[in-house]
Subunit: 336 residues, 2 copies
DNA sequence: TTGTAAGCGTTATCAC
DNA sequence: GTGATAACGCTTACAA
């Protein structure tokens, strides 16, 4: 390994001079700098991250908190997409991104301990078990944090505009003549789910439509099977058959459609269905799915921008700040 | 920040003694150790990763090389799923995982430079532009590396058993009476694509079916549109209409199905179609897709195991070693 | 402008 | 079993 001492020896100067040349310091002559840089390159010098961090207390690294305990993982394209956009943005600024881990070697660590251990600059909370007892410790530590799609108390959140999306979906259904619009909510431990449910109630109220609690069911999860089960529950409890269903996720919507088909209903002839997410294959299902499209790239990028701003103290971790990213209604065949 | 000196002062011993207590050294009495550990805990001591690394030259961290230039990204559930399984495995062993970056601060670095800078223990190459000039430098550096699904020369590769998958798919089609089986290959710059194509030719040859080059087309990419375009090319160049199509990915298969439908063909009545991947929503398309299922979890876990073995010198980066992960044929509606 | 030297928090090598 | 002390590679006052 080539160190600044090796360079200094070869050039015939002090190590501090090398350091200055390497760090764009102004306390050095252009000539010396050039000379040193040339030698450094020639010798294949690469700085040592640990030594630099130790000396500067600056880590240029960002942790991503991602709990694989949940059934929504990295393979869910929403989180994968968000992470990718986030990563691209912060790396362009020179940060590295590391997954927050619960251990170092064989020693178990809390999230906060790990962040301290790594001297991390900030954290993106991607998915997390809200009941994880280590979470509060982290969110209250003062470390710059941003979260996406979660509804963590006191953490700046970047999230799709669930209210806008819900409104667009419901207004479209009403415009098309739907009278009885049911809602299959996502699991209400998810913040996004609660927003979509609240939005549903608001929109109906504003349209002077009384809210029929029997037209609302909560899916246990965001996936296909939960959607199918929730639909069955909905149909059995509803007094009249709904003519439209607003589902909190595409997977739920697809499950509901299959459930409807099994019961002999046609989509969209008998019932219109709208999903949420716009996952890739909803274009290819039969019928293709009308859905509210979330902008993963914007969410990831905004999360990155906001986190960097907090790190640079250009913004504070003001608990109240929540950035809402616009969504888009994609109209396809599952609504008539 | 609490350091070992703070602990030493409080306990009334030397910092080196604290270090010994913290590192399960045998050169310390049980009593002292207990005492020190208690104080450390009480003071909320967390070790400093940089200092430790600097002193030990051991990083306990693994880099993931993931090029977002490609159109196959983290939001592709195959790579997301593989990464998740990989991460779970290595973290359980105490490694942290970091994305390999091309810069540090504002300074651009090659992959190899970055790995040296971070003193990384090993690298998982997830997706990479094969033409990236920095790649060779890395793969030839001697740093432990493993790759997934790629066909990098001289790098141990974990990959689905494309030959087995191809054989199962084609034999199933033949069993069902298909006589003219076409192949929409994936882009041949992808190693997996070349294996699937080679497998296709082998199986047909073994079944004494002459290979008709006009029944083979290469999709420009793995996605839906490439599949649709490739299908159109196939139909226009084929002398007789194929009665079955083996596609190199699910997205290609779905594109092909839509293309067929637009041309007035029915799937599977007129043409059977088989995909590759078993991405989630192929269960819900219409028709649902018969496909070869790849085992992301096994691939990710095997990659992790192998990389750790190389790091621990229990295995070598023997260029010849390629672990093939078994696949499974999932029979659905797109084949008759 | 350049050099000296003192940290940064650990681990590791020796004496004691 | 314990404690000085020298690394590890770098940055940064401060001195020259």
């Amino acid at each position: 390994m080539v160190t600044i001492y090796d360079i200094a020896k070869k050039v015939g100067c002090a190590s501090s001079t090398v350091s200055k040349a390497l760090n764009n310091s102004k306390e050095i002559s252009a000539k010396r700098k050039e000379e040193i840089l040339a030698v450094a390159k020639e010798m294949g010098y690469v700085p040592n991250s640990s030594a630099r961090r130790l000396a500067t207390k600056n880590s240029w690294s960002i942790g991503v908190l991602f709990s694989e305990d949940l059934n929504i993982g990295l393979e869910h394209h929403f989180f994968g997409g968000v992470l990718q956009a986030f990563k691209t943005y912060v790396e362009a600024l020179g940060y590295e991104v590391t997954f927050v881990s619960k251990k170092v070697g064989s020693q178990p660590l809390t999230y906060l301990e790990w962040c301290k251990y790594k001297n991390i600059d900030g954290v993106l909370i991607l998915t997390v078990d809200v009941n994880d007892e280590n979470l509060n410790e982290l969110t209250q530590s003062g470390i710059p944090i941003v979260t996406v799609d979660n509804g963590l108390i006191n953490v700046p959140t970047i999230i799709s505009d669930n209210y806008q999306g819900t409104r667009m979906a419901l207004e479209y259904l009403m415009l098309k003549g739907a009278k009885k619009i049911a809602h299959i909510a996502g699991p209400l431990r998810s913040y996004a789910s609660t927003e979509r449910l609240k939005g549903y109630k608001n929109v109906l109220s504003n349209a002077d439509i009384p809210i029929d609690e029997k037209l609302i069911v909560e899916a246990h999860n965001f996936d296909f099977n939960s959607g199918k089960k929730a639909l069955e529950e909905l149909i059995s409890q509803a007094e009249d058959m709904p003519d439209a269903i607003y589902a909190a996720s595409d997977d739920i919507a697809l499950g509901a459609i299959v459930g409807l088909k099994e019961m002999g209903y046609k989509v969209p002839e008998d019932v219109s269905v709208i999903g949420f997410d716009n996952i890739e294959l909803t274009r290819y299902t039969s019928p293709s799915l009308t859905t509210v499209s979330q902008n993963k790239v914007t969410i990831g990028t905004e999360a990155a921008k906001h986190l960097i701003a907090i790190i640079n103290k250009e913004s504070t971790t003001d608990p109240g700040i929540i950035k809402r990213v616009p969504v888009e209604l994609i109209i396809r065949e599952s609504t008539k």
